[in-house]
């Protein structure tokens, strides 16, 4: 008796959905067991997560608030992943965007809200774009591993932000807290419906539509998909891989940078220590779980955001570290990765002729 795996030609959509949901729930079972071993009652923990993120209108709005940057950044990174370029530095690119926006507010304040916000958006997009573009350039020019460069640029961006808020940009009236002065009114994104949900929501919706159109309908989107499928075929067809990678990295960084600007201008209205809650990393999961579809990422980001909101609630109510939410993120990725095997291969128990010596051998990818 042994397991046999056979490659599937194409898995139907419903199977994708079912398998993904099944394995995500496995992840929560595993996560619950893990919490249990750590002396945390899993059911009450899950209840806290659910209640805190969906319990009331206000909670729901908070979940949306946190889903906004997640979805935006995930759209940014999925652009790169379509090309098989591993930009895992969206975190740093968002920080740079926020810094650039703050710099504009500080040095070129404008009375008009439209002028101020547009200026901030452009500055943030360029800053994030350049930050990511560096890694893209190094990758295509000298084949420098972009996973490492984007990640190192994350750490550098964090230190850079610290430098400014502890140093030259620190608000003298903040009683020593590391934060900048509050932004002027024209530099704030208006909020909606009396909640903390800000105008970034519309930007996100527009972005998702635009990205869907770019990927499906335009020459550029087509090029990106060909380059991601087979870069050698792309060069063979006369596509410029160099410009493709740098361009995609720039755009990706620009979106991430813009996200950073939305966060400071929409929520805090200033930059303070620990301003970003690791959205950059969570967005990677969102991108992966939504199968690199911008539209789908809106939905996935919302669910993932409930985990972040829940994580914060767990910190308050059960005294768990904020980073605990990362356990679930890691587990979900593990299980969904494992689940993909069952989408690509059909596995069956084989009671065929080869009995005897290999009775207890598991079919391990042909290697035995």
């Amino acid at each position: 008796m042994k397991f046999r795996a056979e490659k599937r030609i194409d898995a139907p959509v419903w199977m994708n959905v079912v398998v993904t949901l099944l394995f995500v729930s496995f992840a929560f079972v595993a996560g619950g067991l893990f919490l249990y071993t750590q002396g945390v009652p899993p059911l009450s923990a899950y209840w806290i997560i659910l209640r805190s993120s969906f319990g009331s209108g206000y909670d729901l709005s908070e979940t949306v608030v946190k889903a906004l940057p997640l979805a935006m950044v995930s759209i940014a990174v999925m652009l790169c992943y379509t090309m098989l370029i591993w930009n895992i530095g969206a975190e740093g690119q968002a920080l740079l965007g926020a810094l650039a926006a703050a710099a504009v507010v500080r040095y070129f304040p404008a009375e008009s809200r439209v002028a101020m916000l547009s200026l901030m958006a452009v500055a943030a997009a360029v800053a994030g774009g350049v930050w990511a573009g560096i890694a893209g350039f190094l990758r295509v020019k000298w084949n420098v591993n972009e996973i490492i460069t984007t990640l190192m640029l994350n750490y550098i961006a964090i230190r850079l932000l610290e430098f400014f808020i502890y140093g030259p940009w620190r608000d003298p009236s903040s009683l020593g807290f590391p934060m900048t002065k509050p932004f002027i009114d024209s530099a704030r994104l208006p909020t909606l419906w009396g909640t903390r949900v800000h105008m970034g929501l519309f930007a996100l919706l527009v972005l998702a539509v635009v990205m869907e159109v770019i990927m499906r309908k335009t020459r550029w989107g087509y090029e990106i998909r060909v380059m991601g499928d087979n870069s050698r075929a792309a060069s063979y067809a006369g596509m410029n891989y160099f410009r493709g990678v740098v361009g995609v990295m720039f755009l990706s960084g620009a979106i991430a940078g813009f996200t950073g600007m939305c966060e400071v201008a929409g929520l805090q209205g200033r930059i303070q220590a620990g301003f970003s809650a690791q959205y950059g990393y969570t967005a990677i999961i969102v991108a992966w779980l939504s199968h690199l579809s911008p539209a789908l990422s809106l939905f996935v980001a919302f669910l993932m955001s409930s985990l972040l909101v829940g994580g914060a609630a767990l910190q308050i109510e059960m005294g768990l570290p904020l980073a605990s939410a990362a356990i679930f993120q890691g587990l979900i990725l593990f299980f969904v990765l494992g689940g993909e095997f069952f989408l690509n291969y059909s596995v069956r128990l084989d009671l065929g002729p080869a009995k005897g010596p290999d009775a207890h051998e598991k079919y391990a990818g042909g290697g035995g």
């Binding site: 335009t218 020459r219 087509y222 060909v226 499928d229 087979n230 063979y236 006369g238 002729p353 035995g368």
Partner: protein, 511 residues
């Protein structure tokens, strides 16, 4: 040549069936090899020869059927079991680790090797075996530094080192010059003389008739018969293998070549490892002309092709299209000038194989009307264009949106040829166009190349198959270690041996 063979076969396969994701590669096949026998396994591409032998070698497990060794049933779960039982195989793509030395490859997977590798002892043993069989090799060389012929020697030695009794050779002469093939057959005769059984996979009738004792033909995964070589003829074998009479003869009409279209002068190109892969190559091609390029793979053909379509920079030299200098231009400019390229690596270079037929059909024209539409792509026109290729070039596919990777080798090549030829190329560069295709697809591809010639294309045809080159080319060049060894104006009149000598690097005068 038939003396000294025993009655009980060395190895026997009975009722072998093997399926891959629903495709039956072998159905109820019986096959056996006796001691001292050279047994040809004949069949078209895709007939299941390699699959059957990979089962005997323990790489694949049969879904049904059994294997007997000296009359006793055995189960091979891995190649390790097969090797231990005395069965060895030299694959078409040699199973060598390129970054290892020759001697390291020799002992790879050998069970009783001590923890610390006894380098001296191994090298002595290699010298002993290679002396005995006339297979000279430098044991300390890295495999990637060796020529294809030398690598085959390493692969053979690898098996002899393991004292195998049955040796399977998968199309061993496909990568050799005619002279190298002669030497290989000497080694094979020596082995069978010593009582080894040899399975010789091939589709070259001539070799099968002169070098083997017995022939088994496979057809669509089934055994189409086993006969003694001395009691059959080439024609009978061909019919056995194909089930019908198919010839590969194509009609090459007499055409007067037009004006010179494509000129290359003294180009030098670097290979991936930083050594010069193409040195001082010059030639020109006229309209309505096919220039054949013979040579063993790995002598710079790949790099030459890439340089000719702008994918690889030149160190020096000129490329002229219609008198205009092209070197240094982007690959897209080459395409716009009408220079089209059919690469040998269809899935790795020619296609984005995860994408569908429509997306792959427009890969060289998505920027211009009617497919490109400003910044957008008109998918309706794209689908129409894909449909035209599929109909004109006889591609069979479930739908226009099938990922290209799911197409069979023949259909993939037809799609690729169709995409390039439907653009009415002025210059066509084609590499190994019929590699791995079955007879009918091969014939189709060759006819299409001749049709392009009649329509005015200037074609550079690179192939390892001399018969193909002689059947299609107006002129023939031979490449060895990055250099052109000679340009033959009337290739059909030149004896094959002479071309073989050129392929092995002999200077023109000697040849």
């Amino acid at each position: 040549m038939t003396e000294g063979r025993g009655a009980v076969p060395l190895v026997e396969m009975r009722g072998i069936t093997k399926r891959f994701s629903g495709v039956t590669a072998n159905r109820d096949v019986n096959f056996s090899v006796e001691a001292g026998e050279v047994h040809a396994l004949l069949g078209e591409n895709g007939a299941g020869k390699s699959t059957l032998m990979n089962i005997l070698y323990g790489l694949y497990r049969p879904d049904e059927g059994r294997i007997f060794l000296d009359g006793k049933p055995v189960i091979f779960r891995t190649p390790r079991d097969a090797i231990a039982a005395g069965i060895g195989m030299v694959h078409q793509h040699f199973m060598l680790v390129h970054t290892h030395t020759v001697w390291e490859n020799m002992i790879l997977g050998v069970k009783d090797t001590p923890f610390v590798l006894p380098k001296k002892k191994i090298i002595n043993r290699i010298a002993e075996i290679s002396g005995h069989y006339g297979l000279q090799i430098d044991p300390s060389a890295m495999v990637w530094q060796l020529s294809t012929g030398e690598q085959q020697r390493v692969a053979l030695l690898q098996m002899l080192y393991r004292n195998v009794r049955v040796l399977i050779l998968d199309e061993p002469t496909a990568v050799l010059t005619p002279q190298e093939s002669v030497r290989l057959f000497e080694t094979i005769r020596r082995m069978s003389g010593e009582g080894h059984g040899v399975v010789f996979i091939s589709h070259k009738m001539r070799e099968v008739m002169s070098e083997t004792h017995k022939v088994t033909a496979l057809r669509r995964g089934e055994n189409a018969g086993t006969v003694a070589t001395s009691e059959t003829t080439e024609e009978a074998l061909a019919e056995m293998m194909m089930g019908r009479k198919v010839t590969l003869d194509v009609n090459r009409s007499r055409l007067n070549a037009g004006k010179t279209l494509f000129e290359v002068r003294n180009i030098r190109v670097l290979g991936d490892r930083g050594v010069e892969a193409v040195s001082e190559v010059s030639f020109s091609i006229k309209q309505n002309e096919i220039l054949g390029l013979a040579g063993v793979a790995g002598n710079g053909q790949q790099e030459l092709c890439e340089a000719l379509v702008g994918l690889r920079p030149l160190l020096s030299g000129e490329i002229k299209m219609n008198g205009c200098r092209m070197e240094g231009s982007s690959p897209r400019r080459f395409i716009r000038e009408g220079i089209y390229y059919i690469p040998s690596d269809r899935k790795g270079v020619g296609m984005a194989s995860g994408m569908d037929i429509v997306s792959n059909s427009i890969i060289k024209k998505y920027w211009s009307k009617p497919v490109g539409h400003g910044a957008f792509i008109d998918w309706r026109n794209s689908a129409a264009c894909a449909k035209r290729i599929i109909e004109d070039f006889d591609v069979s596919a479930p739908s226009l949106h099938t990922p290209v990777r799911n197409l069979s080798g023949g259909n993939l090549q037809k799609l690729l040829m169709g995409r390039e030829l439907s653009e009415a190329p002025k210059v066509l560069i084609v590499m190994h166009p019929t590699w791995g295709l079955d007879v009918s697809a091969t014939r189709y591809v060759r006819e299409q190349l001749l049709a392009a010639r009649e329509n005015g294309s200037a074609t550079l045809l690179i192939s390892e198959d001399l018969d193909e080159l002689l059947a299609l080319s107006d002129r023939l060049a031979v490449m060895f270690k990055g250099k052109f060894m000679g340009l033959l104006d009337d290739p059909a009149s030149v004896p094959t041996e002479k071309i073989g000598l050129l392929m092995a690097g002999a200077p023109v005068e000697a040849a």
